[in-house]
Amino acid sequence: MIAFDASQKRPEFIKVRIRRQDGPGEKPYWELHQITYEPELNVISVLQRIASQATNSDGKKVAPVTWDCGCLEEVCGSCTMQINGRVRQSCSALVDRLLEDNEDELVLEPMSKFPVIRDLMVDRQRLFRALERVKAWVPVDSYYNLGPGERQLRDTQEQNYPLSQCMSCGCCVDACPQYKKIELKKEAGETDEAFEARKEAAYDESFVGPHAISQAMLFNNHPTGKALAGERLEALTGPGGIQACGNAQNCVAVCPKEIPLTTSIGRAGRAATMYKIKKFFDK
């Protein structure tokens, strides 16, 4: 608030152009909204104002825009969308800053790599499925009290903590040219379970994504987590694994938490090579 130049001229109104879609498979359309300018708005408060006025810029009554949000302080990962063409969280997208880049309007679109549920809300189940694929957990014996974990050097903690801040927001995969959108349609007569299973099978063959590779590296670097290192590398050397990465480096550029994703990918690549060589000689 303090750093913005208060003397700078600000518009009376803000135009917001939103790419809407009523449901999966429906045709998207653009809708223009207008709200009164206030200082220090973020895109969330813009959407809240649009929801409470319930009309578009022509004064026509329209359904409020659907979008996903949670913590509003960029730690939960819910509110990711494309804002003026760039994928990011809408809570930390400050309107005054956005107007500096484009004073005419704000353009809001859903993420491009996930099926649209409605308007700006997308189905990101695939992100979480990828975490299961790489077994992103520590395989502890039990949840009973069995004493402390292993001592860890500060260096190790400082290497792991940044990776552990990944909030599964999806920015990295949305910007990744190798991560292709998968949108399946439920077939006539197909049960919910069968449809879910078909989706999961499709996800499991596609590119796992930078976030999941990074999580695999995080757990392979944990004293107990590394017990599953082989299984994780097996997943990363299979279809849709590390070799699908085209090294475009978009992921690291858009990560809101500045997680060193390409460093993780590099580490994973080396570990995968070692793993394959070892596997070859162990045959």
Binding site: M1, I2, A3, F4, D22, G23, E38, E40, L41, N42, I44, S45, A51, S52, A54, K61, A63, P64, T66, G70, C71, L72, E73, E74, V75, C76, G77, S78, C91, L94, I117, R118, M121, F128, L131, E132, K135, A136, W137, V138, V140, S142, Y143, N145, L146, P148, G149, R151, Q152, L153, R154, Q157, N160, Y161, S164, Q165, M167, S168, F219, T224
Partner: protein, 657 residues
């Protein structure tokens, strides 16, 4: 024995800990959440999690002192058996979370590093940067995913809990929930149901809480007959960043790592903070509370900041109230290592680097100490009886409440870094209790009849359809009603409370409640309709809001976060030692009298006829630690303490024959 199935509602720390522990105990779990569980509000917790530890032990600390600090900080309204149990579990919980892979900050030698938090003189708080809640939640999320992959847990994410299913005896047999995408309403049977749905910050409009924290799940249990206790105890966190959509938390850890709170001595001094010399800065917490300094308990820090701005007129700006929270004297590398996460939040949302310029902060609604009433069984040693079925069971049989939405642990004021602990503790500890409860039942999930399920479902479907039909001609805007509710609640039921304002607010909130039943929805479709979901949660905020207001109105005293200046205990005024002592005696007589009347939990029952809560009062178990006056900063505290000590000695002395 048929397969047992427990429904856990809520995927924050409490719900995940519960789901994980139950699956280890061989129970199948259906986990319901409004959001992918990894995005639950626990991610917002920043500072850390408390336990006594090897280092503090060698300075005289132990579990008992953690217990004591917690109930003293909570002004003795905490139920002591559960708090004692929690304090003794605390070191083990941190060890478990360490094993689960939480990247706690480390000392040079590789031990878990600790920092100091409010309301204690020991460095008890373990932390993972300044995103400890996020890191703890992720560790549990990972274990739940592991259990899900093993087929032990089914997740229902983007599902809204609409209410419990109860049989003719009132026992909870499952839940009705709604798919927030397809809008399908469905019944789910279970052997037991656990609610861990967090706080109710949205009742205040803006708070430090996430958008999910409407309190509606607790309210739906409350309206179904569960009791709601200590609603009026709402923690206002001293340090938050004001914003138009949310008041973002600035963790207590900023002060734990040496952050100093100050204002310019000259009102609305226009100079940049760095240009104001030390002599012209008023470090009011340090001056007024030399022992605890910037780390007084939260209720006290909040009142002081409020007071300095509102009554002393020393806010930095005239129109927007704030004080400085200053970290600029701490080396940048240390700040980045220990507080990076929160400093980034400030920088991102305020556009100012807090490593270079002091932050501007102001108090904000943060945590509900109250919640669903729940039972427990006290053990012989003053803790909880492990595996007793009634531990954390609400008054609805088979319905359990854990985490922020229970009411036992934090009394009238929660200490920093105790909430993450109470959430994980209650989730883990209740596992064996729920298993024992299920083992005692002759019927379970498999015996829930279709008739029972469809009746419960039908009731919810009717409510939903009625709203979509715009209540047959309603014209109220739910978002505007929410704003009005938030404005009223923030004005009358936060830092300072006055009876005339509370009475007036009860009338106004009642009107708003009626109006909320008459909302008109801009979206009447049946596909991911957030409008109708919000409208329902808004309507369900009112019973909770009414508990807060009525509880506050009827409690004519000051206790922890509940502060009524009209009932404040005076400082001692006399200079003469004899007279001063006499004043101290009177002060303590008053203290005893007040405790007799008000050292009780407020327990609310929802009255459907009057659409308001009926309140009764329940004794608090203070069997382990005798309530003593909380005297932070009071003039004459020393003499009151002396007299109190004498009286306690007399009471404890063996009777002479």
């Amino acid at each position: 024995m048929p397969e047992q199935r427990v429904i856990v509602v809520g995927g924050g720390l409490a719900g995940l800990a519960s789901a994980m522990k139950l699956s280890e105990l061989g129970v199948k779990v259906d986990l319901f959440s409004l959001t992918p569980v990894k995005r639950s509000h626990s991610v917002c917790a920043q500072g850390g999690i408390n336990s006594c530890n090897d280092q503090t032990r060698q300075l005289g600390d132990d579990e008992w002192k953690h217990f004591d600090d917690t109930v003293y900080g909570g002004d003795f309204l905490n139920h002591q058996p559960p708090v004692k149990e929690m304090a003794f579990w605390a070191p083990k919980i941190i060890e478990l979370m360490d094993r689960l892979g939480v990247p706690f900050n480390r000392t040079g030698e590789g031990f878990i590093d600790r920092r100091r938090f409010g309301g204690t003189l020991y460095k008890r708080t373990a932390f993972a940067g300044a995103t400890t809640g996020q890191q703890l939640l992720y560790a549990l999320d990972e274990q739940v995913r592991r259990q899900e992959a093993a087929g032990n847990i089914r997740k229902f994410e983007f599902w809204d809990f609409l209410g419990p299913i109860q049989d003719e005896t009132g026992r909870c047999r499952g839940i009705v929930a709604q798919d927030m995408v397809s809008m399908e309403i469905k019944s789910f049977a279970a052997d037991a149901v656990v609610v861990g749905t967090g706080g109710c910050g949205l009742v205040y409009g803006r708070s430090t809480m996430s958008v999910f924290c409407t309190g509606s799940a607790a309210s739906r249990c409350f309206q179904a007959g569960a009791k709601y206790a200590n609603g009026e105890f709402i923690q206002v966190h001293p340090t938050a960043i004001p914003g138009s959509d949310k008041l973002r938390l600035m963790s207590e850890s900023a002060r734990g790592e040496g952050g100093r709170v100050w204002v310019p001595r000259k009102p609305h001094d226009a100079r940049m903070p760095k240009d104001i010399p030390a002599g012209e800065r008023y470090y009011f917490l340090e001056e007024r509370y030399p022992e605890y300094g910037n780390l007084v308990p939260r209720d006290i820090a909040t009142r002081e900041i409020f007071d300095i701005c509102v009554n002393d007129g020393l806010s930095i700006d005239e129109e927007r109230m704030s004080v400085y929270l200053d970290l600029t004297h701490i080396p940048k590398a240390e700040l980045d290592r220990k507080l990076g996460g929160i400093l980034e939040i400030y920088e991102k949302f305020q556009g100012v680097d807090p490593r270079i310029e002091p932050m501007r902060i102001f108090p904000a609604v943060h945590y509900s100490m109250g919640g669903l009433w729940a039972d427990y069984q006290k053990s012989a040693d003053g803790g909880l009886e492990m595996g007793a079925p009634q531990n954390h069971m609400t008054n609805i049989e088979g319905l359990y409440a854990i985490g922020e939405c229970d009411y036992h642990y934090h009394g009238a004021n929660r200490l920093g870094a105790n909430s993450l602990l109470s959430c994980i503790f209650t989730g883990l500890f209740t596992g064996p209790s729920i298993v024992a409860y299920m083992a005692n039942q002759v019927s379970g999930a498999g015996d829930v009849t279709e008739a029972m399920k469809s009746a419960a479902q039908k009731k919810q479907q009717e409510r939903h359809d009625h709203l979509l039909s715009n209540n047959s001609g309603g014209d109220e805007n739910p978002y505007l009603i929410h704003q009005e509710l938030g404005d009223i609640m923030t004005r009358v039921a936060t830092v300072v409370r006055r009876n005339d304002q509370l009475s007036e607010a009860i009338g106004k909130v009642d009107d708003l409640h009626k109006r909320s039943m008459n909302v008109s929805l801009a979206d009447t479709g049946n596909w991911s309709n957030q409008n109708v979901i919000f409208a329902k949660s808004l309507q369900d905020m009112f019973p909770i809001a009414k508990c807060i207001l009525k509880g506050a109105l009827q409690r004519d005293e000051c206790r922890g976060a509940h502060f009524k200046p009209d009932f404040q205990k005076p400082s001692l005024t006399a200079e003469d030692p004899g007279e001063r002592r006499r004043q101290a005696e009177v002060w303590l007589d008053e203290f005893d009298k007040n405790n007799e009347k008000y050292l009780k939990s407020t327990v609310a029952d929802w009255n459907d006829g009057s659409q308001s809560p009926d309140l009764t009062y329940e004794d608090v178990d203070t069997g382990s630690i005798k309530p003593r006056p909380r005297l932070y900063g009071l003039v004459g505290a020393d003499i009151i303490e002396d007299v109190f000590a004498e009286r306690t000695r007399e009471e404890d002395a063996p009777a002479t024959v």
